[in-house]
């Protein structure tokens, strides 16, 4: 697949990916945050499409989603903000959100819009593998979108192989049994899990998410995996320091 994500995964460095909730802290800074992240060497960005009931997220992302919705963020507003993003930004962009807003927009219309804008992939944690395969895979592929699935320490080996087969970019490896933003550091249990997955020789590389918050956890996570995603820690930073000092945060990671 000719896609920015696939190209990026072929580079030999460890990838730093950042998640932020679109529309937070203020409605109209989406493009500014994306540009600033790229300027500071971030490799890939997950743009969070806020949802009223984010089941897999901890308090930090929940609160940022509630605030973003209150600020007026909608699917349409986000697409409008991003319409010229490819004039200034070249790193892979992924939209991450829950399935219901996509379903209401219309799955095909949503995917078509993503292609027009230059979005490279989607992460929809509550779109299950079997439904994707039977109803939506063709649409995603038609519009050149990578669909990213999650695995967790509880995911069976058999299912990991199914997910690997269905994936066409990377596998989002949830670091531990938790919602986002809830772990403090990685222990031997996580390291054993990282090792176990690395030794499975999957066709898709893995990027670790959940619980990455500083240089130490980033290094631990990327010892075996291709990269890591930081979400809640970055949102907390935005809450405290605003959008002006993004470079400081990124420098603290690597």
């Amino acid at each position: 697949m000719n896609n920015r994500i696939v190209h990026k995964l072929n580079s030999d460095k460890k990838l730093l990916s950042i998640y932020f909730t679109a529309g937070y802290p203020s409605l109209n800074n989406t493009v500014q945050i994306i540009e600033e992240l790229e300027r500071n060497g971030v490799d890939m960005i997950e743009i969070g499409l806020p949802f009223s009931d984010p089941l897999a997220d901890g308090p930090t992302i929940q609160e940022s989603s509630t605030a973003a919705l209150k600020n007026g963020m909608t699917t349409e507003v986000l697409f409008n903000q991003l319409k010229d993003i490819r004039n200034t930004v070249s790193i892979p962009l992924i939209i991450m959100g829950y399935f219901n807003p996509v379903l209401q927009y219309g799955v095909e219309a949503f995917c078509r819009k993503c292609q027009e804008i230059g979005i490279d992939g989607l992460i929809l944690p509550d779109l299950p593998l079997d439904v994707y395969e039977s109803e939506y895979r063709e649409i995603f592929e038609k519009y050149g979108l990578v669909n990213v699935f999650l695995i967790t320490p509880q995911t069976s080996e058999e299912r990991i192989h199914q997910i690997d087969k269905a994936s066409n970019g990377f596998i989002y490896m949830v670091s531990s049994a938790s919602v986002t933003g809830s772990k403090s550091g990685f222990g031997s249990e996580q390291e054993a899990y990282f090792e176990r997955i690395a030794s499975m020789n999957l066709k898709n590389t893995q990027i670790v998410g959940f619980g990455i918050k500083d240089a130490e956890t980033f290094q631990q996570a990327t010892k075996k995996a291709k990269g890591a995603i930081i979400g809640s820690a970055f949102i907390k930073y935005l809450t405290e320091k605003g959008e002006k000092n993004i470079s400081e945060f990124i420098k603290s990671i690597r």
Binding site: F51, S52, D53, P54, L55, A56, G58, P59, Q62, E63, T66, L69, T74, T75, E76, Y98, F99, N100, P101, V102, L103, Q104, Y105, P125, D126, L127, P128, V131, F149, L150, I151, T152, Q154, T155, S156, R159, V174, A177, S178, V179, S182
Partner: protein, 394 residues
């Protein structure tokens, strides 16, 4: 046309399991085992023994003479209000706690709105000596103090849901997050016929004891198993699912659902999902739900906390869409008036939820020889404060 769940977990186009991968192992384990476990002789024996000796089943099917005279038709009440803990909820929690034990789980979580399902869950956890954590919206905790006290007295921990609207929908989100964080030893006892497959079907099967009993009880009283109508209120829809279950494939039995219209369907403060909802995904299933055009789930409103939910179970969405069931909605005022009428004609104070089912007489006229069975899903003790304020009784 089948009204039952298919092997993939769908009722027509509704249902399925739209869950994050973190929940997959637990939900999949349940999906693979629930039917097998429910069929075991030892399970059935223990379930029915507890329903009889502990819950007090069968619940009576009572001919409501004065109410029948008033409305010019034959009305039977299925007295779920006489169950231990005061509502139908306990049928499901007994079933699920036995299921949890057989799955080797040691920790139970639940969500609750008014606190009825929370109390029913705390009760069975005390009975089985299991740890129990109940998530409840911060606002509901404040307005349902007696049920919070009951849960605590039964040994449960009540955790406030402080996100979103701080009510049932958010308590459900918090319970799901707890399950994500505690994937191995925890079982989540969902209180309604909602959630990812197999929950709607499992809850419906546990509640189906209601219609199973109606059949033989009505045979004794009327010489026939099938009434002309079965009538129930619907929030998520577990008492309705249990009341309808054994009549779904009996076309001569009319199925009537009464939703909560709150202050009126057009008022902006309502929980009438069939009128206001659209196909979408809530709490792991595809069903009718109230949402913005953008797919954000909206806040429902009803005077009864048990019907204050923005969705309806997938089985009910299918009954609505296929035309198998007639859907009505009753406003707060209609439900309260119906509750007062039942109190004064029959000496039974219903839960406000159940009051909605009795408001059917303000919307539909029945024939003199029609036989109706109305699910009296819960008793009104918990609602005394609301009745006092509404009717200025004190």
């Amino acid at each position: 046309m089948t009204y039952h769940v298919n092997e993939k977990g769908y009722y027509g186009e509704f249902g399925g399991a739209f869950i994050p991968e973190m929940l997959y192992p637990n939900v999949e384990e349940l999906r693979q085992k629930y039917l097998e476990i429910m069929k075991e002789d030892s399970f059935q024996r223990e379930f029915h023994q507890l329903l009889k000796d502990y819950v007090g089943r069968p619940s009576p099917l009572y001919f409501a003479k004065r109410l029948s005279e008033k409305h010019g038709t034959k009305i039977y009440l299925k007295r779920e209000d006489l169950n231990h803990t005061g509502a139908h909820k306990v049928n499901n929690t007994i079933g699920q706690i036995l299921m949890a034990k057989r799955l080797g789980k040691t920790r139970i979580i639940a969500e609750t709105g008014a606190g009825q399902h929370g109390v029913a869950t705390a009760t069975v956890c005390a009975l089985m000596g299991m740890q129990c954590i109940v998530y409840m919206g911060e606002i509901d905790i404040a307005r349902q103090a007696p049920n919070v006290a009951r849960m605590k007295m039964l040994g449960a921990e009540v955790r406030p849901a402080t996100s979103g609207s701080k009510t049932l929908k958010d308590a459900t989100n918090e319970a799901i997050r707890d399950w994500i964080n505690n994937p191995v030893h925890t079982h989540y006892i969902i209180g309604s016929a909602i959630g990812p497959h197999p929950y709607p079907d499992m809850v419906t099967r546990f509640q189906s004891v209601i219609s199973e009993e109606i059949k033989w009880q009505l045979k004794e009283k009327e010489g026939r198993e099938n009434p002309d109508y079965v009538i129930a209120c619907i929030g998520g829809g577990s008492n309705a699912a249990g009341t309808y279950y054994h009549f779904l494939d009996e076309p001569e039995v009319g199925i009537i659902a009464v939703e909560a219209a709150g202050k009126g369907i057009e008022s902006g403060e309502s929980a009438a999902t069939s009128a206001l909802g659209k196909l979408g995904i809530i709490h792991g299933c595809k069903t009718m739900l109230m949402q913005t055009p953008d797919g954000q789930i909206t806040e429902p409103y009803s005077i009864s906390a048990g019907l204050d939910y923005p969705g309806v179970g997938p089985m009910h969405s299918h009954l609505y869409r296929s035309g198998r069931a007639e859907f009505y909605s009753a406003t707060d005022d209609e439900a309260m008036t119906a509750g007062l009428e039942l109190s004064q004609l029959e000496g039974i104070i219903p839960a406000i939820e159940s009051g909605h089912a009795f408001a059917i007489f303000q919307h539909k006229k029945f024939k003199p020889d029609d036989v109706l069975v109305i699910s009296l899903s819960g008793r009104g003790d918990k609602d005394l404060r609301t009745y006092i304020d509404y009717f200025k009784l004190a």
